[in-house]
Assembly symmetry: C2
Homo-oligomer: 299 residues x 2
DNA sequence: AATGCTTACGAACAGCGTAATGATG
DNA sequence: CATCATTACGCTGTTCGTAAGCATT
């Protein structure tokens, strides 16, 4: 279970080819073959079928762990370096698309005020990319959002050394076309919507599995899957009648879609700050800045 | 960050001695020295002071990660073996002291019914020992308890491949001496008890840090710490007036202590089944057996 | 001086590449 | 027969133990 072996195992499993993995890792075919043989030998079981190259059941299982293990090691290294090394010359801040533009802006303001000389980079990424990046030190700060029960923490991938603070909890809305029969309702329960047409846009709206878990049904089915991260694009899809989506209530919406509050007992949109690599006082200042009451527009 | 190096680092840091670590691991002093040197070299920083041998700040940080990394690797290995190997000839079941005797008994009944020929071992351990053991395959099943907000999962040590199911949520009681001024109250709020004398018995009662987190104060201070796992002993300490403790309401109590329900808004005693190494249908059967309505004694 | 970590050095081993071999479509 | 994984083999670098060195109590 040498990390090197795990790394090449991941490469082989994802590329589906020993030679491609070798090229990717800068090894030779032969070395990759030896790595896999060593790993299979040490675990006493075949991990990959050859021709075609694909993980066996045992390999599937290992694959679930391998990435997490490497990430954990990387996180440890980053954490140690943080204690030792001088403070970074640049701060990289990552957020998920729905983390909230105003909050992001405020975080950036706070960062640039407290560290005048330091360059700040901002980046949008998917939720687990942010989590992994913060854990491994690629990002210094992350803002992630997701669906959870009130005051529950978000379910982040097993990532280790990342500290989190809740930053906001918003209500949820169902977004539907403006001319949808339900668009004028004051509120909607999710059970009533189980049989609706849904757009599954896990990177930009509430992921359907989360909704399924919350409603404890498995009737919520995706009519269309959108894997991009562009909210406007998703809203256009909704407006065009391709399906519904659940979004945080805090968004500004265009006129051709309607938003109806979701009346789900234990379901909120939650935003969390991830700050594995920032010292505690700075982090609390930042959380304070982010949780400060917003200047709300009346509309 | 070779796992072997991490392992010897842990051994050195915990024993406080290179030679003792060498003896523990079956290496020679010299090898241990080289391991540590290699690790420090690869991280570019000193991890241990010599004479006396103690972790530096960077070492402390690494130490927090090292165990988790090794555990994660062990969990992966155990998980793969589970897919491959034949079913174990013996089932080892571990539970925390407060997981509930009746529930434990029921779990054992269920296990022995579904697998008539198989020996079952039962063991009591601390919460993170159970979690680690289940993750690494040392235990096949675990039942752990703890304090949490309703329907929140328990905060278990970062353990990776363990699946959990909630099995029960009990109310909490404050246990006090029978002649305590508050003993006749119908219920008590934790804030009112902030300045009381508490017994910190993290392995057998609600750990004070959990209560502090729940009350959002830091006034709950331990007058006495009890690190054993014997409930009767703890109750005797309470009866003798050494302090209060918070326990699940489902316990049977002796006559010389009184139990007053805790009126804390979002605080319950929760029991979870950990079943990393049991297949899904068996696990759900077991959860069903455990969550079935109890035969309640009226008293 | 004794204890205990470090360094030097040689032997055993493991890891990688080249190249030959084997299997599969 | 072409592609791609495996095996054979030699080289290199790493790891461990023995033994000598060195620092601290």
């Amino acid at each position: 279970m040498d990390p090197h072996l795990l790394r090449t195992f991941i490469a082989v499993a994802t590329t589906g080819s020993f030679s491609a993995a070798a090229a990717e890792l800068g090894y030779t075919q032969s070395a990759v073959s030896q790595h896999i043989a060593a790993l299979e030998n040490s675990l006493g079981t075949a991990l990959l079928t050859r021709r075609p190259v694909a993980p066996t059941p045992a390999g599937e299982r290992l694959l679930e762990h391998a990435g997490a293990i490497l990430l954990r090691i990387e996180a440890a290294r980053a954490d140690v370096r943080r204690v030792v090394g001088e403070p970074p010359g640049e701060i990289v801040f990552a957020a998920t698309p729905l983390a909230g533009a105003t909050r992001v802006a405020r975080a950036l303001t706070q960062l640039r005020q407290t560290r005048p000389g330091i360059a700040v980079t901002f980046e949008v990424a998917r939720r687990d990319e942010v989590a992994r990046g913060v854990a491994s030190g690629a990002y210094h700060l992350g803002l992630v959002d997701g669906i959870a029960a009130p005051s529950d923490p978000l379910k982040l991938p097993d990532v280790g050394a990342v500290r989190t603070s809740a930053v906001a909890q918003d209500k949820l809305v169902v977004v539907l076309p403006d001319d949808h029969p339900l668009a004028r309702r004051k509120r909607l329960g999710l059970p009533a919507l189980v049989d609706a047409r849904w757009i599954d846009a896990p990177d930009v709206a509430a992921p359907l599995p989360d909704l399924r878990a919350a409603t404890e049904t498995d009737g919520i089915r995706a009519a269309l899957t959108y894997s991009g991260t562009d909210i406007l694009c998703l809203l256009a899809l909704v407006a065009a009648g391709h399906g519904l989506a659940v979004l945080p209530a805090s968004l500004d919406l265009p006129a051709d879609v309607a938003a109806v509050p979701v009346h789900a007992p234990r379901l909120v949109h939650r935003t969390e700050l991830l700050y594995g690599h920032l010292d505690e006082p700075q982090a609390t200042d930042l959380v304070a800045a982010l949780t400060a009451p917003a200047i709300r527009r009346t509309n």
